[in-house]
Symmetry: C2
Subunit: 341 residues, 2 copies
Amino acid sequence: MLSRLALLGFGNVGRALARLLLRKESELKAKYDLTFRVTGIATGKHGAAIDPDGLDLENALALVEGGGSLSALTRIPVTGPLDFIRLVPADVLFENSPVNVDTGQPAIDHLRAALERGMHAITANKGPVVHAYRELTALAQAKGRKFYFESTVMDGAPIFSLFRSALPAAQLTSFRGILNSTTNLILGRMEAGSTFDDAVHYCQEIGLAETDPSGDVDGWDASIKVAALVTVLMGIPFKPRQVDRTGIRGITAEMVSEAKTQGKRWKLVCSAEKNGNEVKGRVAPELVSPSSTLYSVEGSSSIVEFHTDTLSSLAIVEGNPGPETTAYGLLADFINAVKNR
Amino acid sequence: MLSRLALLGFGNVGRALARLLLRKESELKAKYDLTFRVTGIATGKHGAAIDPDGLDLENALALVEGGGSLSALTRIPVTGPLDFIRLVPADVLFENSPVNVDTGQPAIDHLRAALERGMHAITANKGPVVHAYRELTALAQAKGRKFYFESTVMDGAPIFSLFRSALPAAQLTSFRGILNSTTNLILGRMEAGSTFDDAVHYCQEIGLAETDPSGDVDGWDASIKVAALVTVLMGIPFKPRQVDRTGIRGITAEMVSEAKTQGKRWKLVCSAEKNGNEVKGRVAPELVSPSSTLYSVEGSSSIVEFHTDTLSSLAIVEGNPGPETTAYGLLADFINAVKNR
């Protein structure tokens, strides 16, 4: 089966996806009889290109990485993202435009437009999950398509697809984990002797933290992930602002070193618990000891421990993620969307 | 859709499955439009019963737990397991007869007979996976049915279904974990001050270890699980005897207490690594420190850490399993078998 793919957003993640598609092309054909053609790529700063016969991905990668514009390759003039979605002949849209977690826009509009046109809508963007999960899922269902977003929490690690396919009839009652890499890395650097400010600066240098680090250090990113997990896996709409949230600004170098003396570690712990239709979500620093599975989760690694009515405890730990890991989540969503039709 | 279920084996696991089916009946109907009827139950010591209109599960449970025989309930005379499979009108066979890990028999014959008759074949029995994975999988495929066995490794935790459905196009290159609960519990008891013999005796008392504990303490059970994971997930037939195997008999109380002083723990570590078409499998005690995800895995909990070509590291940790957990794996296999037709 041939799938025509459209890539909206061609930054680190979009380009990692393009490389992964090239690397997995023959495997997808052999294993799933799945072939693909990339019919469109739209970028923020490097133009957009549509070619119904398929774009040369290697060429597109070289062009954008060399600072050029894709518009030179297009066979159809494109004026913006929504115009791109309206014009591109595609079966799947990968939405990787910049994240706005307060509104989920413009990603929600992009995903809605793609579903309306009968495409599967796949994103690594948390905003639409927190702000429009029910709407987009209902629209996808009405159109016989999928709205998938595996890469929004714990990169490419299978979290949503685990409950969707590998854990049927398991009711999630609570979870607990480390879901924000930046704060986990900051706390690790502080254990190694860094000050808080130096550790933040380091995370900014390696591209993990934003210029304004408050999204991470004040626990907002972690709260968004808690909200996404509650909304999707517990089936109860939940907003980041409903999370009882404490960041890591109150954790001093002294506290970290005192914990170390006791053989413990500070971790920014995300958790939620469901009672009937009520959910309590929480993000707060906690002292953890080596007997906890959270203790060994270092650097940008992450963990979530699920408690369900059927398996008392099941944890997923992801080590050393990167743009390739996020790209793999997008690829997995694509395969699962077209396979399960 | 109505599924007719046959249960071969009605010990702790079979009865836990019966209770779980009763508990999940309305959820399966609501969530998957899946209804079922148990048309047959065959036991080792409590007779067998077939009723095409469906047996009363509560009644069957009470009868067997009260020491009675199911034969009183049957509408068709049954002389043995193969006769049972030949006669029972069913769409799914749950095979939970006693394990023989050297030959996989008689479970292999049971599963083959069920598949030949057009049933899905589901088992918690490791023997058939190690001794007849390819044959039974090919037969299932030829018949348009499924041979599933999620509960054979790490109880009901999703391991096989993870790769089957939640991790498409991920190539497993190596894994490492703690897969035998008895030895993990023995080492934990030794850390708390028990002698090896007392710890073994304790595991026998709580029903975790056999009268002859060598299957666990000499690393055979762990080797069987390594062989099952290699065979299924790496696609290379691998026998328990091919595993480089060292049990825990060489671990003395002194070694355990010395490790404790260093802040470390002895664990019976299972691992395998694939290079091209060659696989090295190993089971051996290793010293692990708190920075390892294996360190916090206590008692009868288990862990496996996968390394793939797409996700550098993904670990699954299962806490506090029991017969209910194994039963959940069987239920999940049933749902996935009939859903994915």
